[in-house]
């Protein structure tokens, strides 16, 4: 461990003020990777441009609008709208503008199709909240200006396609009127607005599309009421269900006259099926209803005569209609059959004739088809060809054409819920999975190229080859563990309930697994994944086992629904087992103990405050019993502003008695006054954080002892008024209080109030300090504060004589029940940007200095040295303090562009930053996720324990050669001289 002693020396060197993270442009992609996603597609519109590259414009559940290349699935451009700016509809106007309606129909934007530049933006208001519709008629003109028809917030607008001007508007103010459809019959200047009023009234308005004049208003009442949506079967007929869901109402309003017909579903299908729902479709003449088990397609013939055309129990997905000629409409239908999906394209008026019938092999891990979008093209023989875009259960997007998957996008990765890591297998015979081993010739060629490069003899093509070789180095993407611990698997859980394993070397998907336990079932109606935990991390005596992760999920959105556990092998990506629990999961506490097979003990707290121990083995139980009295945890009740501490009491009593169930007791509670404080953030230290030293040597040879406790909790509360957005409160009415609470005793160790400040608060806790970010209303800037906490009870151990004579108290046991003598130091600084996430680097042994990773509002990640947030900073540090590395105090924290770890990239929609230590002490792995993914390696104090990537081996070689040559030359010289000497 010669390196060990070398550290301190090097650390002094690295404490210069220059940005520590910095990258040359040609190093991009060497250690980092960036992946762009869009999220689960809600709506897709194909661009019908004849010339140029084929595109499809999509809107997604992540509020992204994007233009994709239809040939390869790449993103041409993309925009992420705000979190509240949910997209209601998209369409293409005039063949060159993408029109989006968002924010509940109140913002209409137009984007240039080729480059994604926003062209105009209009704000649409209205009298009341309603459904919103966006229609782009092809033939409706208004002074040579194409018109968009938008219904939103109870108002109908006609809007110019060129500049977004509102041409006319018409309010529908009737109190109870609920719009269901807005219809533009082709070839006329009329708009039909149909809807329900007062639950049982059907209303139809006919409006002149030229000026918004109301031409006709008809209504009819239906005593049985309505339920759910309506389906439009022709421009003058809609189908609805009555309130019981068993009678179909066919309502037609030809020439402004409302007529209707009622058909009980039982007349159409013999066996009664229970309540049905209408699946909205835009295919004329056909609609579908769905009951629990069956999907039924029904055709409308003439005036309200219904006929069942197909009944299926398979999972089915239908596309919207696509008009392929004047009077013909086609649509696509997808049915599942074990490992295949069957795609059929039919004409609307001819159910039995198929235009196209294809079967495509589908990976089972993609689940069911959720959405289908159809598009046609003209083949060389002038017949129609069809391609369909399908959205799967795992949120992936695939393009099918001619019975094949042309491309696929793993857009489930845009909504990551939780991340953990796993080690790769150790390299052994037969274990290596790397397929890209070079043969000898290629290896030699590569090295020749590199040599050329370093000797500056390479041509531009050679340089490009070298660069691509560096990026694709097989070394970093191998499937085995490496010495430095750079290669790992990132296990991510997505909102779709799918697990992905990503390789840290190049970000590729090693395996993916759609959790079976997260499938809908009768017992579990709407399962959602919650968290990932490392279940088994084998080392020592369980080396042959594969590591596994624990996925905790529950059956519904509320916290008292029962939980589901699944255990997944991280090498193979197979589910080992899954457990449906009979209790809820409110809190999961990974305990710092493992059993004989290295399975980590977890304590699950249910809604009735019982604690359940997993794994349910006797070995685990005996370990747990030993530590029974040492287990404490806390819970935060946001609503009531209470923080409680808990401990275990005894075995469960009552009927659920089970060896692994325990009763709990409340130890303490901290109640925040609800009229003046509302908790908005709680942060603790990371469980696996390593602290290298407790002592901190300060300038004048003095020692301070860090107060290091795993049981410290940082809580931030704000005035209830100030919990809203910025600008909603004056500085006098708002304050922010920060607490440090000991979670074993409930003792408040520190409390500080920031007057005139408000949230949101982003905080990170590490070692003995906490850094938090909040908004200062007086200065109207963001601020960051640091609190460091030191242990005073050890302060008198500084005397060397005491240490020598053994009279120190360093070995005395620490108990949290004795009142700790702590002092805190804090300081605040301005910071320019809003934050979305904050994290801190973590290294294997905790020796390397720390950096804060700030996810800014611009979706970049900035690395900021912890030394800038040191409460001991002063305006004029003394010489000693300067030597120690204390930076003169400045009002605001510096933003050095070179220390953006994401360099010139954006992690669009950034949500979280995760840091994982590598085995090499200097290096930490950083994974940032949002809609995009970004991964890189960071060395907060530079790579002092390994050679940098740009180390010049050539120079080293040249020097050695030169030295050897010089030795021989001097030897010859000295030899000759000696000879001459002898002759003399």
């Amino acid at each position: 461990m010669a390196i060990r002693s070398f550290f301190l020396f090097i650390l002094f060197f690295s404490s210069s003020l220059s940005p520590v993270f910095s990258l040359y442009e040609d190093q991009v992609g060497l250690m980092d990777w960036h992946q762009q996603y869009i999220g689960k597609v809600k709506q897709a519109v194909f661009s019908s441009q004849r010339a140029g590259r084929k595109r499809v414009v999509v809107s997604t559940e992540e509020n992204v609008i994007a233009s994709l290349d239809l040939r390869h699935g790449e993103i041409f451009w993309r925009h992420l709208l705000g979190a509240d700016d949910v997209i209601d509809g998209i369409d293409i106007g005039l063949g060159k503008y993408v029109i989006t309606l968002s924010s509940g129909g109140s913002i209409l934007r137009s984007w240039n199709l080729p480059d994604g530049q926003m062209v105009w933006e209009s704000s649409l208001q209205g009298p009341k909240h309603s459904k919103s519709f966006l229609l782009v008629p092809t033939n409706l003109k208004f002074d040579k200006d194409n018109v968009l028809v938008v219904f939103s917030n109870g108002r109908l607008h006609a809007i110019s396609c060129i500049d977004g001007e509102v041409l006319w508007k018409k309010d529908f103010e009737a109190e109870s009127f609920e719009v269901q459809q807005v219809i533009l019959p082709p070839g006329s200047d009329l708009i039909h607005v149909v809807g329900f009023a007062a639950l049982s009234q059907f209303e139809m308005y006919q409006i002149n599309a030229k000026n918004g004049e109301l031409l006709k208003h008809e209504s009819a009442s239906f005593s049985s009421g309505f339920s759910g949506q309506v389906s439009l079967v022709s421009t003058e007929t809609v189908v609805a269900l009555d309130s019981t869901g068993s009678i179909l109402l066919t309502i037609s309003f030809q020439d402004g006259k409302i007529s209707s017909q009622q058909t009980p579903i039982s007349n159409l299908v013999e066996d009664s099926l229970g309540p049905a729902v209408i699946i909205p479709s835009s295919v004329s003449g056909i609609f579908a209803i769905k009951t629990d088990a069956v999907t039924i397609f029904i055709r409308v013939i003439g005036k309200g005569n219904l006929e069942v055309v197909e009944k299926t129990t398979h999972e089915i997905a239908v596309s919207d209609a696509l008009s392929i000629s004047e009077d013909q409409q086609a649509f696509a239908l997808i049915q599942h059959a074990s490992s295949e999906i069957h795609l059929t394209v039919k004409l609307a008026h001819d159910w039995d004739g198929n235009l196209l019938k294809e079967s495509v092999k589908m990976d089972r891990q993609r689940g069911l088809v959720h959405k289908v979008f159809i598009n046609n093209y003209i083949r060389t023989d002038r017949s129609y060809g069809f391609r369909v875009l399908i959205v799967m259960e795992d949120h992936s997007l695939l393009l099918l054409q001619q019975g094949e998957i042309v491309w696929s996008r793993e857009d489930g990765l845009a909504s990551i819920i939780d991340v953990t890591t796993s080690e790769l297998p150790v390299e052994r015979d037969g274990v290596s999975v790397a397929k890209v081993e070079h043969n000898l010739f290629e290896w030699l060629k590569g090295h020749m190229l590199k040599l050329k490069g370093t000797l500056m003899l390479a041509s531009p093509e050679d340089m490009a080859a070298i660069q691509s070789m560096r990026l694709k180095s097989s070394e970093k993407s191998k499937m085995t563990r490496d010495h430095n611990g750079f290669r790992k698997l990132l296990i991510v859980l997505t909102r779709a309930g799918k697990l992905f394993a990503l390789h840290t070397g190049d970000g590729r998907i090693v395996w993916s697994y759609l959790l079976r336990s997260l499938h809908k079932s009768e017992a579990c109606q709407s399962p959602i994944g919650l968290n990932l935990y490392q279940w088994q991390v084998p080392h020592h005596h369980a080396m042959d086992e594969n590591p596994s992760v624990l996925v905790v999920s529950r059956c519904g959105p509320s916290s008292d629904t029962s939980g589901v556990l699944s255990f997944v092998d991280t090498y193979t990506g197979k589910e080992l087992s899954s457990l449906s629990l009979d209790h809820a999961v409110v809190q999961v506490i990974p305990l710092p103990y493992t059993d004989s097979t290295e399975q980590r003990l977890h304590l699950l707290i249910d809604a009735d405050k019982h604690a359940h121990l997993y794994p349910k083995t006797s070995g685990a139980l005996s370990i747990f019993k030993r530590e029974f009295s040492n287990i404490y945890w806390y819970s935060v009740e946001d609503q009531n502003g209470i923080i409680k501490g808990h401990a275990l009491k005894c075995k469960c009593t009552g009927e659920v008695a089970d060896e692994f169930c325990f009763d709990t007791r409340d130890l303490w509670s901290v109640v925040f006054p609800s009229e003046s404080e509302k908790t908005i953030a709680t942060v603790t230290r990371k469980l696996n954080e390593v602290v290298h030293t407790q002592a901190k040597v300060v300038a004048d040879q003095d020692v301070m002892y860090k107060y290091i406790s795993r049981n410290l909790l940082f809580v931030a509360t704000v005035a209830p008024k100030g919990s809203g957005e910025i600008g909603s409160v004056t500085p006098e009415e708002s304050w922010l209080v920060a607490y440090l609470i000991d979670t074993v005793t409930g003792r408040i160790l520190h409390r500080v109030t920031h007057h005139g400040s408000q949230g949101p608060v982003h905080a990170v806790f590490s070692e003995n300090w906490v850094v938090y970010h909040y908004f200062n209303l007086r200065a109207h800037r963001y601020e960051m504060s640091v609190i460091e906490i030191y242990d005073q009870s050890r302060a008198d151990n500084k005397d060397v004589w005491k240490l020598v004579l053994g009279k120190h108290n360093l070995t005395s046991p620490i108990s949290l029940f004795s009142r700790p003598e702590v002092i805190t130091k804090s300081q605040s600084y301005f910071f320019t940007h809003s934050l979305k996430a904050i994290a801190v680097t973590s290294t294997a042994k905790g020796i390397t200095s720390k950096q804060l990773l700030l996810g800014t509002i611009g979706d970049q990640v900035l690395a900021l040295d912890k030394r800038f947030l040191d409460p001991r900073r002063t305006v004029n540090p003394t010489q000693l303090e300067k030597e120690e590395g204390i930076i003169p105090l400045t009002e605001s924290l510096p933003i050095i562009p070179q220390s953006y770890v994401t360099h010139a990239l954006r992690v669009e929609g950034l949500r979280g930053i995760i840091t994982v230590p590598a085995k090499l002490e200097s290096t930490t792995l950083v994974f940032a996720h949002g809609v995009d993914l970004f991964f890189t390696q960071l060395a907060p104090s530079r790579t002092y324990d390994s050679l940098t990537e740009d180390f010049s081996y050539a120079l080293l070689l040249i020097t050695i050669v030169a030295l050897v040559a010089a030795i021989f030359v001097t030897w010859r010289l000295s030899e000759r001289k000696e000879l001459q000497e002898k002759w003399r």
């Binding site: 705000g82 480059d115 530049q117 062209v119 910025i726 109207h780 070179q898």
Partner: protein, 202 residues
């Protein structure tokens, strides 16, 4: 905290007294982002990845997000009266956040100031304070940098010893040198040649 510059000038801005029930005090904020031409093209062919279409304007830490029109104008709709914060996110540029006061008493008047340097804005025209270089610039190959590297120093030192030392020795007094040489011989200090393999053969 120094007093905020009193130079906050009044700003344009159309108020939109709203028609709807809930939001009686809703206003619009209109402004413009201006990125000076030529600012982006300066340094060493460093291509700016961010174009105008990738610029975002954010209100109150992401509560509302809007984009720029081709001429750089942007607007936020239905904003309640109060003090707000506007941030501009553009790759390659550093923008100061802007404090914007939307007044309820005098509808439609907006005051703005940069929060970084507390400079008042007479119009809501946002310009970058500076460009951001995300990459280090690789220094071109030079002899000096080669010489300054540890290897260079090593070679330099060796050369100095090999060629300057004899010179120094030459300048010594002949008598003295001979005496020194004899001394060395008598002590049997091995010469360099005898140290090397093969050198010992002589």
């Amino acid at each position: 905290m120094a007093a905020v510059t009193p130079l906050l000038l009044l700003l344009l801005l159309s108020s939109a007294p709203s028609f709807s029930s809930g939001s009686r005090n809703a206003y619009n904020i209109n402004g413009r982002v201006k990125i000076p031409q030529g600012l982006g093209l300066g340094t060493k062919g460093y291509a700016l990845p961010g174009r105008m279409s990738n610029v975002k304007v954010l209100l109150n830490g992401g509560q509302n997000i809007t984009f720029l029109r081709p001429d750089g104008y942007f607007s936020f709709h239905n904003i309640p009266a109060g003090t707000h914060l506007i941030e501009v996110s553009a790759i390659g540029y550093f923008f100061s956040p802007v404090r914007v006061d939307v007044s309820a008493r005098t509808p439609g008047k907006v005051q703005a100031a940069l929060t970084e340097n507390r400079k008042g804005l007479s119009e809501l025209v946002l310009e970058p304070l500076r460009e951001e270089q995300y990459y280090e610039i690789r220094e071109p190959f030079s002899i000096m940098s080669l010489l300054k590297s540890p290897m260079g120093l090593m070679v330099g030192f060796m050369l100095a010893v090999a060629f300057l030392m004899p010179k120094l020795v030459e300048n010594m007094d002949l008598e003295e040198m001979r005496r020194a040489q004899e001394e060395m011989r008598s002590q049997g200090v091995p010469s360099l040649s005898s140290l090397l393999p093969g050198g010992a053969m002589n």
